[in-house]
Subunit: 258 residues, 2 copies
């Protein structure tokens, strides 16, 4: 039985890609078969795992517009139990193409594509772009649940209510079984009052479960993508790596799998 | 003679809104008549200047879809020389509506709207969302130049080439006089090698001018939005405030206006 999880937050720069890559990699280290689907035209998740596309290479865009099947574009990562469906720049053109489809079909394209590979993976993570447009909507319709990274900053907190109301709308009309996996507090710098206040605010007011694990600000996490490696391969001793391994443990315990 | 400047970068969380709000406010303190147009459905620039919309209030979305004129929605800020055109959440629906227009018109809507107010302001800044979709395209077509905040991180550097190629395409086909105002390095933490390496990389390789002024990481900048105030009103003594006042000076000097 596989789980499809969208990693979404329309606020930019909150740690969606860092979480998709490093939670995926940590679950692979725990030998759970995991697939990471990059749905962001910036393709940071792809490059963060060392995948460089050549100009003719097919990627998620081509599967979305029906030019290839998903099995053709799945790639291996450096970790045995982690595969990747990469994105390329022309994914930015996908939204205009999806708008040409009818309203019913245009939000179910990714869901249909993932049905072809779901059974081969225990966990499938979808890295979403920083918006609530058609690419993110496709991810929410294709997913069983949503994991929401939240930076310990005021502006990140402010956007949470729009994300919650979007997920609730998707749940009502398009994907009734969609639920919130949890909120992950990222880039936590406990030296500042702001981070403590935001953490307190999220934990006491949130209707969504909040992971006990938090990810501290750790420069090794922002160095790792330039080496095309997840943190567990770049610097397993770092606080960043320990946090994501800890998150993987908490995630598996919640799934009754620890 | 007014200048319209888009503040754009599809990478999320790099300091677009923080720069739009605080460069705008610093120019207002220098008594240049300035307008800030919020084109991001997250409406962080609006709330960062203390503007809270009620459910019936009109905003930029309504001007884009032709339901009101822009003069009706211009609001005063706490600074005499700074006005704001706010955004609300339903701006997220604008892209779907713009796609229903023909390809020629759908990218020129904001340009036509701003022509009605251009002569009343010396500088008009447009805060863009973290994407290269229709809202950002409208901003690039409506603008004379583009100011690009870049966070001193690897992933932020990686996205720069897609932004440059998008701006060049807009310049070729839609807005021939568009030019790069400059790159602003933000959230610079000189304690880390990464920030120094990224700064060196940007200054030595960039075909776009890079401001001498950089903005250090400063928690007061991220506290200010929760008080609805630009940094110059929240804490004028902070390094964040001094940096944006310094940027305003450099910006004006480049315009021959110091
Ligand atoms: N815990 C952390 N400590 C330090 N840096 C971090 C941490 N998490 C992420 N980063 C860095 O912060 C930046 C933003 O993170 P990331 O790109 O993962 O966010 P995102 O939400 O995916 O952004 P976008 O909205 O553009 O997709 C990146 O440069 C990343 O390397
Ligand atoms: N120099 C700085 N020092 C510390 N925090 C900063 C600085 N500049 C911005 N921030 C904070 O970092 C976060 C990201 O900044 P901001 O929201 O301005 O980026 P953005 O590019 O507009 O994001 P988005 O892509 O979501 O529109 C915010 O919480 C902001 O308060
Ligand atoms: Mg990302
Ligand atoms: Mg912003």
């Amino acid at each position: 039985m596989s789980n499809v999880i969208a990693i979404a937050n329309q606020k930019g720069g909150v740690g969606k890609t860092t979480t998709a890559v490093n939670l995926g990699a940590s679950l692979a280290v725990a030998e759970r078969k995991t697939l990471l689907v990059d749905m962001d035209p910036q393709s940071n998740a792809s490059s963060g795992l060392g995948i460089r596309l050549d100009s003719g290479d097919k990627h998620i865009y081509h599967a979305l517009v029906g030019e290839c099947g998903i099995r053709e574009i799945v790639r291996k990562s450096e970790l045995d139990f982690l595969d990747v469906v990469p994105a390329g720049r022309d994914l930015a053109g996908a939204e205009a193409e999806l708008y040409m489809m009818n309203a019913h079909d245009r939000v179910r394209v990714l869901k249909k594509i993932l049905e072809q590979v779901r059974q081969s993976y225990k966990y499938i993570f979808i890295d979403c772009p920083p918006s609530l447009g058609l690419l993110t909507l496709n991810a929410l319709v294709a997913s069983d649940s949503v994991l929401v990274p939240v930076q310990c900053e005021y502006l990140s907190l402010e956007g949470l209510s729009s994300l919650v109301s979007t997920v609730e709308k998707v749940k009502e009309s398009l994907n009734p079984s969609l639920f919130f996996e949890g909120i992950l507090l990222t880039m936590v710098d406990l030296r500042t009052n702001l981070a403590r206040e935001v953490e307190y605010e999220v934990r006491s007011n949130s209707r969504i479960p909040v992971y006990n694990t938090t990810v501290p600000r750790n420069v090794r996490l922002s160095e790792a993508p330039s080496h095309g490696k997840p943190i567990v391969l770049y610097d397993v001793t770092s606080t960043g790596s320990r946090s994501y391994l800890q998150l993987a443990k908490e995630f598996l315990a919640q799934k009754g799998e620890a």
